[in-house]
Amino acid sequence: MSGEVEHVASLVTGVHQGLEREVPHLEHGPYVICLSRAARAYAELSVQFDPAPAHPVVTEILARAGAEPSGALALYAFSVVIGPRLLVSLVDLGPLDARFEAVAEVTRRQLRACAGLASHPGSIDEPGFAVAARSLVRLAEQTGNAESFVLSR
């Protein structure tokens, strides 16, 4: 497996495993359903690649987000922090592999599904949400992933 393919596989695995780990513990139905569907979609993607270790930054972001019980922060983590960076990463890598387009398509689809929940009442209005959300962005930035998940060489 080339470095680029392995990198994408690790991102897909990170999203899949991270969501799978958190989803059973989250509480707010619409968020949980949306994230569960996303987890399944990334499971479908991950089987198209050779097994790869989960991307550590993706794993960490989702683990921290999962500490907020409603699922609002996990939804934010996926739809604002991880998803867009994953898409930019794919653009940066270019059409090296046919599977990349499938990853991009699934990601766009899941982001659209999450966007449908933007107006849903939930924990997003609670004090502390903004601080927690900002800390996830900062984690991405501090690990060198300000705009995309960069491939270390």
Partner: protein, 586 residues
């Protein structure tokens, strides 16, 4: 060769009762852990129940299925589970056919975008197989609800055995999805099914599986649902065949069972690897019943058991605790009473004898005798007073006392009113006792003997009613119990007893002639002309065809009943009521 221990969870699901279905799946999963199974396989749509029908058009139902799936994810120390459920994807999902697809005519509605799926759970979802071939014949309506799966097949790898995942119809097609899976490296095909019972279906399934095993060179594990759902009864009889098509193991009919099977298959590196993490070697050594092989019963025994399970499940799944039925001393009501006792127990069954001025003394005696043999309470409510009152009331209104068919149907309707009143007073569901031959030719009274909650033998031709009675009596003899149905009931001429000296054969052809004709006209959809060409009497064919066509409006208003044939009245046979089609003689 590597081997896997599969646990086939032949379960009785309840449509829409997610909590109960999750509990059942959990119970089977724990049982499977106890025998060291590598993987548990559920039937098709085990989580939602089958068929969910238009519940699938409700977004809330699809969401509830997703939440139920989440509740199965956290299962530490338990074997992985392949669970049948519905999955929803945003439109344009890569794994589902876009609309329209060559194999599928899809709904115009963009949402829900739903697939019939088999989800592999092991510390979260690891793979999702979606049903490729959507049946749309007989009772099946899947193209109304589902998008067909496309793209690469799902394969999971356990101990070097590559399990290819299929759902029901997918395995029936020669050179179809099963062959595609084998070509992609699968060495064991596992199939989740909701295959309803019909006469001869088990033999058909096993012959098909043997053919598919030989075609693919793979063993096949086939798990079926069990239990009643409205008209349908799922018979179970889950089965595993080896690569030559020989049956390795078979579960019982009409009972829940965890069928545990050790299956050897060719080694393969294909598929997503499934690590079975819990300790199981010691448990395996203790497992007593592996590769058990239930002997299939005779066809008539299967039909009887289907009627019992279909009745029982309709009653309890709909929240009833008891049943009431009219007992006339005739063979139909005797059989239905016996089935009811076998389904829910004698204490939950009440028979009501409703003699009229035309009832023979023998009929009342036979009804009491049935009650005694079945240990069922029989209440007697004579209808004479109501009959006389109606005659007087109607006579004043019509200018003449009702006679002929009007008077006959009046008696039947008075009985219907009494049974429905008892139902209101006690909460018992009314079981009707009409058989398929009568239903076919309209030999029943609307709002009379056809009024009720469940029509137990509506798919049983009259000649088979006798067979079933003899079968049940033989079972009783074998068990050393008294025969439930007396020789008097079995030997007397069928009669509705709605006028003096009435017999069925005064209005209908003898059942020995009628039933084969109905099998042609109804079950095989033969035209009158074709039946005449087959040698049936032309005037009889014309008469029977006319009766069948004219009775469609009655059948459309009749209660549901257990389906035992491949062409039951109801979902299998959707004829227009307003119907001007007449086939001229050849």
């Amino acid at each position: 060769m590597p081997a896997v221990r599969l646990a086939l969870a032949q379960m009785n699901a309840v449509v829409g009762d997610f909590a109960r279905n999750v509990e059942t799946l959990d119970r089977f999963r724990h049982q499977a852990a106890g025998v060291g199974a590598d993987v548990v396989l559920s039937p098709e749509l085990a989580l939602t129940g089958y068929p969910p029908e238009d519940l699938l058009l409700k977004e809330g139902f699809i969401d509830a299925a997703e939440l139920a799936l989440i509740s199965l994810r956290d299962a530490e120390g338990l074997p992985p589970l392949l669970v049948g459920t519905v999955v929803s994807e945003a439109e344009g999902a890569v794994s589902l056919a876009p609309s329209p697809d060559a194999r599928n005519v899809v709904s115009e509605e963009p949402w829900p975008h739903v697939a019939n799926a088999l989800v592999a759970l092991s510390d979260g979802v690891i793979a999702t197989a979606t049903k490729r071939l959507l049946p749309n014949y007989e009772v099946f309506d899947e193209q109304r609800y589902f998008h067909a799966g496309v793209g690469p097949h799902s394969i999971i790898n356990v101990n070097g055995v590559a399990l290819g995942l299929l759902i029901c119809e997918d395995v029936w097609m020669a050179a179809g999805p099963a062959a595609e899976l084998a070509a992609q490296g699968a060495t064991l095909i596992v199939v989740a099914n909701a295959s309803p019972f019909a006469r001869g279906r088990r033999e058909e399934r096993e012959a098909m599986l043997a053919e598919r095993a030989r075609e693919t060179g793979c063993p096949i594990a086939y798990v079926n649902l069990v239990g009643g759902q409205d008209e349908l009864v799922f018979d179970g009889q889950s089965v595993v065949v080896d690569a030559t098509g020989a049956v390795l193991a078979r579960a019982r009919a009409f009972a829940e069972e965890l069928l545990v099977v050790d299956i050897e298959a060719r080694e393969s590196g294909a598929g997503v690897r499934l690590d079975v993490a819990y300790p199981r070697d010691e448990r395996r050594a203790r497992a007593a019943s592996v590769n058990s092989l239930a002997e299939p019963a005779s066809e008539i025994a299967e039909i009887y058991d289907a009627l019992v399970m279909g009745t029982r499940d309709y009653i309890w799944k709909n929240g009833f605790r008891s049943v009431v039925l009219g007992v006339s001393g005739g063979v139909d009501s005797s059989l239905v009473a016996t089935i009811a006792v076998d389904a829910v127990g004698a204490r939950a069954v009440r028979g009501v004898a409703m003699p009229s001025r035309y009832s023979s003394p023998g009929s009342l005696t036979d009804a009491y005798e049935l009650g005694a043999r079945l240990d069922v309470e029989v209440t007697t409510i004579p209808i004479e007073a109501a009959h006389a009152a109606f005659a007087e009331m109607l006579g004043a209104g019509l200018g003449e006392v009702p006679s002929g068919l009007t008077d006959e149907n009046l008696q039947s309707r008075i009985r219907g009113v009494i049974l429905m009143a008892i139902s209101n007073a006690t909460g018992a569901i009314v079981l009707t006792t009409g058989n398929k031959s009568e239903m076919a030719v309209g030999y029943s009274t609307l709002y009379g003997d056809s009024a009720g909650g469940f029509a137990v033998i509506k798919d049983v031709p009259k000649t088979m009613v006798y067979e079933l009675c003899r079968h049940r009596n033989a079972r009783a003899r074998e068990a050393g119990d008294p025969e439930p149905i007396s020789i008097e009931v079995l030997s007397k001429a069928p009669s509705a007893e709605l006028r003096a000296d009435q017999r069925d054969d005064q209005s209908l052809p003898p059942y020995e002639l009628l039933d084969p004709l109905l099998a042609g006209y109804v079950d095989r959809d033969a035209t009158a002309g074709e039946l005449i060409a087959e040698g049936h009497d032309p005037s009889l064919v014309a008469r029977v065809a006319r009766l069948v066509d004219a009775a469609e409006y009655k059948r459309r208003q009749s209660p549901p009943g257990v389906r035992i044939s491949k062409k039951a009245f109801g979902r299998d046979r959707r004829m227009p009521i307003t119907n001007g089609f007449r086939v001229p003689r050849p």
